[in-house]
């Protein structure tokens, strides 16, 4: 009897202490990343965002929560049609990114995500945002790539952006496609720095490569 009580007591104690250490953080985040990947509505994403908000308010030194909060908010916009509605989610993603960039201004993944948010913003209203963000997007993606040449997302987004521009001007897409190929091989070879590091983008890069006829 006493043993059982002791055992339960230990389990409870263990569970409660675990909440404070890093494994709890990693596990909690990993669980959310699984949910993030399987989300198929804006509400699903909102549930992930809420949980990550809770994690973020405790783990203020970590960049992952804020990164994925921005990433999930950005993905929420794809579930809406009306551009004003979509812009609200981009604003939300931007707000999370702004906070993250204050603490991690030179983080390759965060900069690449910023480039992605701007790309979507331009696609929503090219007449208004095209000139404002097109140059800035190229610049920040180049910076993301320079900070970490092994970041496949920086190479992929840069390739995608260059591809669109080259096509628009009827120029050769060779350079853009080279970037996409580079991204594809980086997706295969680059090892993530930690278990929570972003992994997305490979599928897009592969279909982009197909477009390139490579």
């Amino acid at each position: 009897m006493k043993r059982i009580l002791l055992f339960i007591g230990l389990v409870v104690a263990f569970l409660s202490t675990q909440a404070q250490d890093n494994t709890a953080y990693t596990e909690a985040m990993q669980a959310q990343l699984v949910l993030l990947d399987s989300a198929h509505s804006s509400d699903d994403l909102q549930a992930v965002i809420n949980t990550m908000e809770r994690i973020a308010q405790v783990e203020t030194a970590q960049w992952h929560p804020r990164y994925y909060l921005a990433y999930a908010s950005l993905h929420q916009n794809f579930y809406f049609k009306e551009s004003a509605e979509r812009a609200k989610y981009l604003d939300k993603a931007q707000a999370y990114l702004d906070k993250a960039l204050v603490d991690f201004p030179q983080h390759s993944e965060l900069l690449a995500l910023q480039g992605f948010v701007w790309m979507i913003r331009v696609s929503l209203d090219p007449a208004t945002y095209g000139q404002l963000y097109a140059g800035k997007t190229m610049e920040i993606l180049q910076k993301a790539k320079a900070l970490n040449p092994n970041n496949p997302r920086a190479a992929f987004l840069l390739g995608q952006m260059s591809y669109g521009t080259a096509q628009f001007f009827g120029q050769s897409t060779e350079q853009a496609c080279a970037l996409v190929s580079q991204a594809v091989s980086l997706y295969e070879t680059a090892t993530p720095t930690d278990s929570l590091a972003p992994k997305w983008g490979k599928k897009g890069a592969l279909s982009m490569q197909e477009k390139c006829g490579l």
């Binding site: 809420n50 208004t128 404002l132």
Partner: protein
């Protein structure tokens, strides 16, 4: 017993875990789906379901803080005792105040901004308007409230004379915003539209911050700190310019040199004016940016330009005899502005502008020298007391010096001069009573040291947003402007002229479509009047002039219905009469037209990387003075019409080819008539139509950008 005990122990952890349950609604009791409910400083929490309910277990004990947050609502924190059974929580959230979604004060103003959400225009719209040909004023003339005055080129707003519209750059006044032009030939703005990232064109009811404008304020903000170094080259049919920008982390500078000569163009394209010396201009511009500390930014801009032109006209009294009119102009302008945050809630803005303008006009044997120098110093404090209450306090001083020398052949010089200062204080408060209802209350006091006059001008606006997309606003204000230099120099006891505006505005912006309707009434007091026969006698000038203007205006813009097409339609109805200057009686002034309509259409053809645009403007004929008609200003010219088109072709990412043609149809506009001072032998006053310098104006330009960033181009510049 044993089984019961074991079961009890197995359930023990769950019994230890208290359940936190409840519902989250808005103030009306509607459930909120997706709200975040959690214990502060822990991962423990849940998201509300579509019924607004939440429930989560926790093993935490004692005093905790429950946080409830939801986008668009004010977060709530409530203390919670996690001992024993917890009660079912009912939490209602209050909608958060959101300035971006809140009502905006729009009466009278057209704002073009990239940073604000709900604007009628974007900066790019101004420069891509076909009839503008790169002139800000040309683009603004397609908006309601303006009257096309083809022989002037200036902005005439709501029955106001050209001088009643003032231009402000970074808050300070620009004394000579238009280039000097020969009589009855149009001028252009002195500043390139590419310099500005924010434009507010207010046709009435503007903030107490802006003084010395009776009818309208054009408020321009220069570009933000440049982010990259580049060289820009423009090659145009009328000249060219080259600019270079060098951008660093905290310092940036740019310089631009331009030369315009219309000679070769005028030799190719038939002209209706006899140019003996084609318009020519040399211009140099430079700007400098310096960041200070975390938020401080100094912007400096300077321009120096020199213009000359000469034409010949036939004498009205004697058609086979001609006389020349020559004009030389020198202009220098400096604009400095400094802005920084002071603490978390306050911003300090300071500005200084200096300008010097010298015109030498030689009509026939007359020589008129006009020199004007001025400076404007301004300080503004902006304080956000709360999210919903902010104030703007400021002081300014405008000093000016004016000199005019007229010399007729063999007569002594007739010289007048004036120097004076104007000091002003203003205070204004913006109050959001709710997210939907806002008020702006302001007061402006001015003192002029020429005639020691003190004026107090109250200004106020109210705006109410009745649904997500629509709002109604009202504005009232009184506005003062000092008498025109030439009159004040003669009689320094003249008071400031005064106007009062009443504006009612309804605006709906939804789904890239904008509808705006505005009605106004404006009355004028203390306008300067004089007897033409005694124009050199100071006593002939009095403040006994007066007048009114009223009208209704419509603006419709649609960027949605036709793919890749954006169009806007403006209509203005204007009813105005005034007694001023040498008018013998109250009459509709020569610069006013009863009806004005403008249609601007822009279409982008992706496959050709080309934007094509057209603008069509029509206006009813304006009054002109006919000495043979006993009714003063009783005649009206024929209606005004212009169709302009442009094509911008993106040749390569960094090369743009731009062409435009104004008055495509070649319609002969007549803006009015000029009559001889005396009737001829037959007792008829000989006259001449005031028309266009040429039936059409063609423009071709190639704009090249050289920078490390290959995607940058001068599309912004078109």
């Amino acid at each position: 017993m044993k089984t019961l005990l074991i079961t009890g122990f197995l359930l023990f952890p769950l019994l230890l875990a208290a359940q936190v349950r409840g519902i989250v609604t808005d103030k009306k009791g509607e459930p909120l789906l997706g709200a975040n409910v959690y214990l502060k400083g822990t991962y423990v929490g849940a998201t509300t379901s579509f019924t607004g309910e939440f429930s989560f277990p926790t093993t935490l004990k004692g005093a905790q803080v429950l946080v409830v947050s939801f986008t668009g609502y004010e977060s709530q924190e409530l203390p919670l005792q996690l001992n024993g059974p917890s009660e079912y929580l009912r939490i209602s959230l209050k909608e958060a105040f959101n300035k971006l979604e809140a009502v905006t004060i729009t009466a009278g103003a057209f704002e073009a901004s990239d940073t604000k959400k709900v604007t009628v225009l974007k900066p790019l719209d101004i420069v891509t308007t076909p009839s503008a040909v790169g002139d800000i004023n040309g683009a603004l003339q397609t908006l309601p409230g303006t009257t096309q005055n083809g022989e002037s080129g200036r902005l005439f707003v709501r029955g106001g004379d050209g001088y009643e519209t003032q231009t402000y750059i970074n808050g300070t006044l620009v004394q000579n915003p238009y280039g000097s032009a020969l009589p009855n030939l149009p001028t252009r703005g002195r500043f390139s539209p590419f310099m500005f990232s924010g434009t507010t064109f207010s046709t009435g009811g503007y903030s107490a911050e802006f003084g010395q404008a009776l009818s309208s304020a054009l408020v321009l903000q220069t570009n933000a700190f440049p982010t990259e170094s580049k060289t820009e080259i423009s090659l145009m049919t009328v000249g060219g310019d080259i600019a270079h920008t060098q951008a660093g982390e905290r310092t940036a500078a740019s310089a631009k040199l331009g030369y315009i000569h219309l000679g070769p163009y005028q030799a190719l394209v038939p002209q209706q004016v006899l140019w003996t010396q084609a318009p020519q201009e040399y211009r140099g511009e430079t700007s400098f940016y310096q960041k200070f500390g975390k938020t401080g930014l100094l912007k400096a801009y300077a321009q120096a330009s020199s213009n000359s032109v000469e034409i010949e006209r036939s004498r009205l009294e004697q058609a086979d005899s001609r006389y020349g009119i020559a004009l030389d102009n020198d202009f220098q302008f400096v604009n400095l502005s400094y802005q920084m945050a002071v603490g978390k809630r306050a911003t300090w803005e300071s500005g200084l502008s200096l300008s010097s303008n010298h015109d030498s006009l030689h009509p026939d044997t007359l020589a008129i020298e006009e020199k004007e120098r001025s400076f404007h110093l301004k300080n503004v404090w902006l304080i956000d007391w709360t999210e919903r209450f902010s104030t703007r306090l400021g002081s300014e001083f405008i000093g000016s010096q004016y000199e005019q020398d007229i010399q007729a052949k063999e007569l002594p010089v007739y010289a007048t001069e004036l120097s004076g200062g104007l000091s002003a204080l203003f205070a204004e408060a913006d109050v959001y009573l709710t997210q939907r209802l806002a008020a702006r209350i302001g007061l402006r006091a001015e003192h002029t040291n020429v005639n020691q006059q003190l004026t107090i001008a109250p200004r106020t606006s109210l705006a109410y947003k009745w649904d997500e997309f629509s709002q109604i606003s009202f504005a009232y204000g009184s506005f003062y402007q000092k008498p025109q230099n030439a009159y004040w120099a003669l009689n320094e006891s003249l008071d400031q002229e005064k106007a009062e505006h009443y504006i009612l505005n309804v605006q709906r912006i939804k789904n890239k479509r904008t509808l705006r309707v505005e009605a106004y009434y404006k009355n004028y007091h203390s306008l300067v009047r004089f007897d033409a026969a005694q124009r050199y006698q100071p006593a002939a000038y009095t403040n006994t002039g007066h007048g009114y203007a009223q009208g209704i205006e419509l603006f419709w813009r649609d960027q949605k219905s036709i793919p890749r097409t954006d169009y806007w339609l403006s209509y203005s109805y204007l009813d105005t009469e005034r007694l001023y200057r040498d008018y013998p009686q109250k009459a509709m002034p020569t610069f006013a037209a009863k009806h004005s309509v403008s249609l601007v259409v822009k279409h982008f053809i992706s496959a050709l990387r080309t934007q094509v645009g057209a603008s069509y403007s029509v206006g009813s004929g304006r009054p002109y003075y006919n000495p043979e008609n006993p009714t003063f200003l009783g005649d009206k010219a024929k209606p005004y019409m212009d169709l302009s088109m442009n094509v911008a072709y993106l040749l390569r990412p960094q090369v743009i080819l731009y062409t435009s043609v104004s008055n495509v149809t070649g319609y002969q506009n007549v803006f009015g008539y000029e009559y001889a001072a005396q009737p001829n032998a037959q007792g008829i006053y000989p006259r001449r139509a005031i028309g266009q310098a040429a039936p059409r104006f063609f423009f071709v330009g190639l704009f090249i950008t050289l920078s490390s960033n290959k995607n940058d181009n001068q599309l912004n510049n078109l």
